[in-house]
């Protein structure tokens, strides 16, 4: 498949690994903050290719993992309302809330549909005029523009039964919170698809304020290894900056149409990140012009929710302070079939990837 296979070329990968081995002169810890990277790194067995002194850790890059229990509990509460159809990305249905999950509620008869796109959810609304269609909007800057387009279409067509329950979040504030929280890092493998939308300039503050290098990275093994090589060189030469490895999709300024769409429909707000707490101006909510689509505005609900199992260390894992193997629950009672925390639920979660794709040296 074009633009995939060429970047999985084994010879390129072998050479890059060789160059990495020749470049290492310290210990290095690099954090990736994108579920797609977590998953790709484990899937291709990249840790098994790297020298011992290059460590990769996962940050809060999985939008499912950082979605709070309260969001799931509220979504479940909405799903129990009469005449409501919940539409959601598939990733979210197994996430445990305080006492249930969307998947369990679906099995018990709640009207919950999996969609691949906000546009599918809007179509549900067109076809079910008597129902309230609530779309669970999760995802970072990569996904939020699609939701923005959907809201604009709903507004244009005056669709009165379509609503958004937004948990959209922004990546840079979380990265800053990670650094301030004390994670010991030498650089960031930056999310290539977020940057395809925002442009690479959103990461400029990281080398400027914190002297950490950032490489905006693609998702194939050659991309990831080249980025690691670039980060190693930045550390060795003490030249932290933002560089784009994924230049076939990312520019300095990004996708201006998508950015305009986002700022037309959304404004930033404080948001609660599972494991990180509240991070100021790290979430997206609908602007006043579109607040009629905000389900929390139309149908506010209060729920009482339970925090995660007190032994669960998803928070520290998301902050890059611990690894899944440091968790007493990992693979003992918390595993993909029985996830206790969000890091295990999502296919892109650090614990799920670590468990599924355990590498062999």
């Amino acid at each position: 498949m074009k633009y995939i296979d060429e970047f999985r070329n084994k010879d390129f990968v072998t050479k890059l690994v060789d160059l990495i081995y020749r470049s290492v002169i310290h210990n290095y810890t690099f954090m990736e903050v994108c579920g797609g990277h977590t998953s790709a790194i484990q899937r291709f067995g990249i840790p098994s290719l790297l020298p011992e002194n290059v460590r990769l850790i996962s940050g809060p890059g999985c939008p499912v993992c950082v979605t709070g229990t309260d969001f799931i509990d509220k979504a479940i509460a909405y799903s129990k309302m009469e005449d409501v159809i919940i539409t959601t990305y598939g990733d979210l249905i197994k996430v445990p809330g305080s006492s249930s999950s969307l998947e369990k509620e679906k099995a018990a008869g709640a009207n919950i549909r999996i969609v691949l796109s906000g546009l599918d959810a809007l179509e549900f609304a067109r076809l079910n005029a008597a129902k309230k269609i609530i779309f669970l909007g999760i995802g970072f800057e990569t996904t939020a523009p699609g939701t923005a387009v959907t809201i604009k279409l709903a507004a244009k067509e005056n669709i009165g039964n379509f609503f958004l329950f937004s948990a959209h979040k922004l990546m840079p504030p979380a990265m800053e919170a990670i650094i301030k929280n004390g994670a010991s890092l030498d650089g960031f493998i930056c999310p290539g698809h977020v940057a395809a939308i925002t442009g690479s300039s959103i990461f400029d503050f990281i080398p400027e304020r914190y002297n950490l290098g950032c490489v905006v990275t693609g998702f194939e093994p050659a991309d990831i290894l080249l980025s690691i090589l670039m980060l190693i060189k930045m550390v060795n030469q003490n030249t932290p900056k933002v560089e784009i490895q994924y230049n076939r999709a990312v520019t300095l300024c990004g996708n201006l149409i998508a950015q305009r769409c986002l700022s037309e429909v959304f404004e930033s707000c404080d948001a609660s990140w599972r494991g990180l707490g509240v991070i100021p101006l790290s979430g997206l909510k609908l602007r006043k012009d579109f607040e009629r689509f905000d389900i929390e505005n139309i149908l506010p609900i209060k729920i009482v929710f339970k925090e995660d199992n007190e032994l669960c260390i998803c928070g520290e894992i998301l902050r890059g302070l611990k690894t899944p193997e440091d968790c007493p629950l990992f693979s003992e009672i918390c595993f993909p079939e029985n996830p206790l925390g969000a890091c295990m639920v999502s296919n892109e979660g650090a614990c799920n990837s670590w468990y599924k794709y355990r590498f062999v040296k």
Binding site: M1, K2, Y3, I4, E6, F7, N9, D11, F12, K15, L16, L19, R22, S23, C34, G35, G36, H37, G61, C62, P63, V64, Y89, D91, L116, S117, G118, L119, D120, I138, G139, F140, T142, T143, P145, G146, V149, P191, H193, A196, I197, F219, A222, L226, Q245, N247, R248, A249, V250, N255, I257, A258, C261, S346, E348
Partner: protein, 74 residues
């Protein structure tokens, strides 16, 4: 969620396109990219084309890999 793959535009109808990944056909909204043409490769994410893939830049990256591969010393 970050799942986004390169897919080739095979037909366009207004602001929607059909795109192919290995022959499997998906719908893609073209609302946030401009000047999309049949034959272009785009990044498909959550039902939308979020960016066009630059053939020129892709080739440059591959050339870089080739050069690394061919070099005898670092």
């Amino acid at each position: 969620m970050c799942l986004s793959i390169p897919a080739k535009i095979i037909s366009i109808d207004g602001s929607m396109a059909e795109v192919s990944a290995g022959g499997a056909i998906f719908s893609a909204g073209l609302h946030i990219i401009e000047n999309a043409r049949v034959g272009d490769y785009i990044l498909l994410h959550a039902g939308f084309a979020i960016q066009k893939i630059s053939e020129k830049e892709a080739e440059e990256t591959l050339k870089l890999f080739e050069e690394m591969n061919n070099s005898l010393n670092e």
